[in-house]
Amino acid sequence: MRTTKLEKKPVEVVNNSDLMLISKQSYAAIDKWIAKYHPENRQAAVIPALHIVQEENGGHLTIALMDELALYLNMPTIAVYEVASFYSMFEHKPIGKHKVSICTNISCMLRGSEEIVEHLKKKFAINLGETTTDGKFTVKEVECLGACVGAPMCLIGREYHEYLTPEKIDAILEKLE
């Protein structure tokens, strides 16, 4: 006989054997985020958690990882997919060593982001969302990153680069390993 008594708002008791893809360290980091919210709102930690999981996995997410996270955060898997597919900082397939995210939203567009995009496309002979054959660069288009004041801009790794020109971005990319 098995009996369980659950609190009013049940948090599914997660069986440890179901959690195997995400490391202990990552879970510890996720727990720090969870602790910031009310226990009933574990799912509020989903965005930072996705970042942690993505980083551990070398820059992209998989369905299995998202499913595991959904279980841990007590949310429907589809809700995790929604978040992870909405935000452009989450990747769903392997990417290059450096991710160049170019903002093409309104301010950047008015200030010439199209020219930067064309330049990079030609330079690497790839389309937006693709990775160079040597696996070094992935170029993707993103929505406003809140740095309109320095438009056109891009995000590489964790750094913002503003007032871009084709020459300037060449120089930036040159310096990357």
């Binding site: 009996t3 369980t4 008594k5 049940p10 429907p76």
Partner: protein, 792 residues
């Protein structure tokens, strides 16, 4: 109440009402897509923009509460301009493929575009195309047509209780779907077809079979579960049922229906539909006219009565039959001296039938389920058994009510469960006794006669305490017995204990009975010991189980296939095959029936006959037939009327089915029911000595409950139409050396069956779930008796 003005009309509106609600109540139409009165407010389509005096910009009517003195214009130039602007946006990416869209003619987008769309689009860019999703056998998708109203998404989260659909991606790349390839599994999923304002989600079985304007809409009632959902049937060419949708009835099914009720109509046109009377002569079947067939019935039955006596004849009816049919069947039988009459084919324990209430019922109105603060479900898979009841309970659960279960399988109810006891069916009585004992201690009430002794060995656990307190604390609380408790081999003990629990905790005892007209069958006297109106019969006949065990000489069947619908399918099959004469009033003929029957009379199934059903709350619902009976088929009440006359019985000169109904109403007019019965102490409960005995959990597979469901193709292709298998938990599988996916043999009472093993940790210890109602599992004997399993 506040006073507002809409389009110059002064009206009173409820404080806090939304403008769109107030307008709807006042009969002022505001266009909308995402708003639905039963779903949360998303306000994402913006179609409902209106002008409000003193507001700078148009406001969404579905998200703006009324305030006193508010002046609203729904058709001012500013409002119309805003609405037209939204329409233009919505149509940018819409494919406008109405000529090849199933929704054409009943599409909200089409309708509203007629009023607010423009002839030419300013957009010359390419339209987006969205890949179709495969959501399973019930729902067809054309996702390019989706306008992202998210009604379907909210339905999943808020009504079905399972969030399967979502809006993934962003902006232009937003898509509605499951993201990964998977079917939707909700048993209410079909409702998204009605909710979807465009042709993105449509009915798969109906696909491309008719245009909305070719159809006539008629009212009927679902015969399957004890809820009696109200339906609208869409009829093509005046004779074919091509689609079923809900008919709003706030008190019963609100605006929803289960997939079972929506798609079971497909069975009406299944291949094994019986269309002409058939007679078996020298082992060969031939089609005959009605006269010949009825004559054969008269001869066959009369001969049996003369040769062996009327007590060697028995009548079995499906609890999905109509009230009129059930009433006439028992009337006919009783006049001929036959008292062996029953509809309880799956029941095993009849020992307390004399004390039983006039009709076991829900004990409360269906819509009251959501008002409960505490509910204990016993032997019930309510989500699959009665999806609408589950929806009501879910509302209570989400509100914070304490839903608790005692089951042999840890079903996922898609609602918060406060406490659950998952244990072998043989252990139910100990658990109920434990709860009762805890209640006695908590409430300090005197124990009823003999109870102390009964439970002296039973230990009170924390779960018992928790359940007991919840029931006591709940100002409105219920204990509900589901089919697995009603059909339990110790049902009378469970009933007695459940009743004691309700008395001690001042809760309501209720039955979630099996079928659409279970209550009707009790009312109509389709029982061996009671006549219509719940009065004792002069002579008590054999119950369903005895009839089959004793092996009678003749059987009269009404809409049943006892070889799979009986608790003792093997014995049923043997008894029918050994009988001298079997007449089956049936809508379908199966291989097995051809074996055992001598005459098959084609009777009209649901939708083809006028009918009355009494649901679990005791509501009588009468409807007319919506399509003419197929082929030579006749409504069963007419067949029984003619049989009555041919047998020379009196009182069979009804002209319409209404005459029958009036007669039943007259006989049952003083019927009062109360689920409480006189306390009669069950046998002492020992400690669980048979803890190691493996028992079968005989749950009826979700879409195997009656002859219609079993033949509804799309339902049979769903995930819920589980194949016959030996479902067992990991520990038990290990103990018996079983492996997932590998075949094993189950043996019970000298019968054997070989089925694949499915390891399912939701199944309790010492039990094995082998669904019944399936031909593949019918070769196994008694439900719930000990069973042994070995690998092959």
């Amino acid at each position: 109440m506040v006073s507002i003005e809409i389009d110059g009309k002064k009206i009173q509106a409820r404080d806090g009402a939304l403008v769109i609600e107030a307008a709807d109540d006042a009969g002022v139409y505001i266009p909308r897509f995402c708003y639905h009165k039963k779903l949360s407010i998303a306000a994402n389509c913006r179609m409902c923009l209106i002008e409000v005096e003193k507001a700078a910009k148009p406001l969404p009517a579905c998200a703006t509460p009324v305030t006193d003195g508010m002046v609203i214009f729904t058709k001012s130039p500013k409002a119309i301009d805003a609405q037209k602007g939204v329409m233009e946006f919505l149509l940018i990416n819409h494919p406008l493929d109405c000529p090849i869209c199933d929704q054409g003619g009943e599409c909200e987008l089409q309708d509203i575009a007629m009023g607010y769309g423009s002839d030419v689009s300013k957009f010359t860019e390419k339209k987006r195309v969205v890949k179709d999703k495969n959501l399973g056998p019930l729902i067809a998708t054309d996702m390019t047509r989706c306008i992202h109203c998210t009604r379907c998404v909210r339905f999943g989260a808020e009504v079905a209780g399972v969030r399967e659909l979502g809006a993934t991606g962003r902006g232009e790349h937003t898509e509605i779907g499951t993201y990964i390839t998977s079917n939707v599994s909700s048993e209410m999923s079909g409702n998204v077809i009605d909710l979807c304002p465009v042709g993105a989600l449509t009915s798969k079985p109906f696909r491309f079979s008719a245009r909305a304007w070719e159809l006539v809409e008629r009212d009927t009632i679902a015969p399957h579960d004890c809820i009696g959902s109200n339906l609208k049937v869409h009829v093509c060419n005046g004779r074919e049922v091509v689609r079923v949708v809900p008919r709003e009835n706030e008190a019963i099914n609100e605006t929803w229906i289960s997939d079972r009720d929506r798609f079971s109509y497909e069975a009406l046109y299944s291949d094994d539909r019986l269309k002409t009377p058939m007679l078996k002569e020298n082992g060969a079947w031939r089609e005959v006219d009605w006269e010949t067939a009825l004559q054969a019935v008269i001869v066959g039955i009369n001969k049996t009565i003369t040769d062996s006596g009327a007590d060697r004849v028995g009548a079995l009816a499906a609890p999905t039959s109509t009230l009129e049919e059930l009433y006439l069947m028992q009337k006919l039988m009783r006049q001929m001296g036959v008292n062996n009459i029953d509809h309880r084919l799956r029941q095993l324990d009849f020992s307390d039938q004399q004390q039983a209430p006039v009709f076991p019922w829900l004990g409360q109105p269906i819509n009251n389920l959501e008002n409960n603060n505490a509910v204990l479900l016993i032997g019930s898979n309510v989500r699959k058994d009665q999806p609408i009841a589950a929806h009501r309970l879910r509302k209570a659960g989400v509100r914070g009510s304490k839903i608790m279960t005692l089951n042999a399988v840890d079903y996922d109810f898609y609602m918060p469960i406060m406490a659950k006891i998952i244990t072998s069916p043989m252990d139910y009585k100990h658990q109920l006794a434990g709860i009762a004992k805890a209640l006695l201690a908590q409430t300090k009430q005197p124990a009823p006669n003999g109870f102390e002794k009964l439970v002296s060995k039973v230990k009170i656990t924390a779960s018992h305490q928790a359940i007991a307190s919840a029931l006591v604390e709940g100002s409105v609380s219920s204990v509900l017995l589901g089919p697995q408790a009603i059909n339990h081999p110790e049902a009378s003990t469970l009933r007695m204990l459940a009743q004691l629990i309700t008395l001690l905790s001042q809760s309501q005892l209720g039955y979630l009975s099996e079928a659409g007209n279970s209550v009707g069958a009790w009312m109509a006297g389709m029982l061996p010991h009671r006549v219509a109106g719940g009065k004792d019969a002069d002579k008590t006949g054999l119950n369903a189980l005895e009839m089959l065990h004793k092996g009678l000489r003749a059987y009269v069947l009404l809409g049943v296939e006892p070889e799979i619908e009986s608790a003792e399918s093997v014995i049923a099959s043997r008894a029918l095959n050994d009988a001298d004469f079997v007449v089956s009033l049936t809508s379908f003929s199966s291989e097995a029936m051809r074996q055992y029957a001598d005459v098959m009379l084609p009777i009209a199934p649901f939708a083809e006959t006028s009918a009355t059903f009494i649901n679990a709350e005791g509501q009588w619902q009468s409807v007319a037939g919506v399509v003419p009976p197929l082929g030579e088929t006749r409504p069963a009440w007419k067949v029984l009327r003619v049989l009555g006359n041919l047998f020379g019985c009196s009182g069979f000169d009804y002209i319409t089915s209404d005459d029958v109904l009036t007669e039943v109403k007259q006989l049952t007019k003083d019927c009062q029911t109360d689920n409480t019965v006189v306390w009669c102490c069950p046998a002492p409960i020992t400690t669980n000595s048979n803890a190691d005995i493996l028992v079968r959990i005989a749950e009826v597979q979700m879409y195997a409950g009656d002859s219609l469901q079993r033949r509804a193709q799309a339902l049979q292709n769903t995930h819920d139409a589980d194949f016959a298998a030996i479902r067992i938990n990991k520990a038990c599988a290990k103990k018996f050396g079983l492996k997932d996916g590998v075949k094993a043999t189950a043996a019970q009472n000298g019968t054997e069956i070989t089925l694949p093993v499915v390891v399912d940790d939701n199944v309790s210890d010492n039990s094995v779930l082998i669904h019944c109602g399936l031909r593949d599992s019918a070769a196994l004997s008694t439900d719930f008796t000990p069973i042994s399993i070995r690998p092959v």
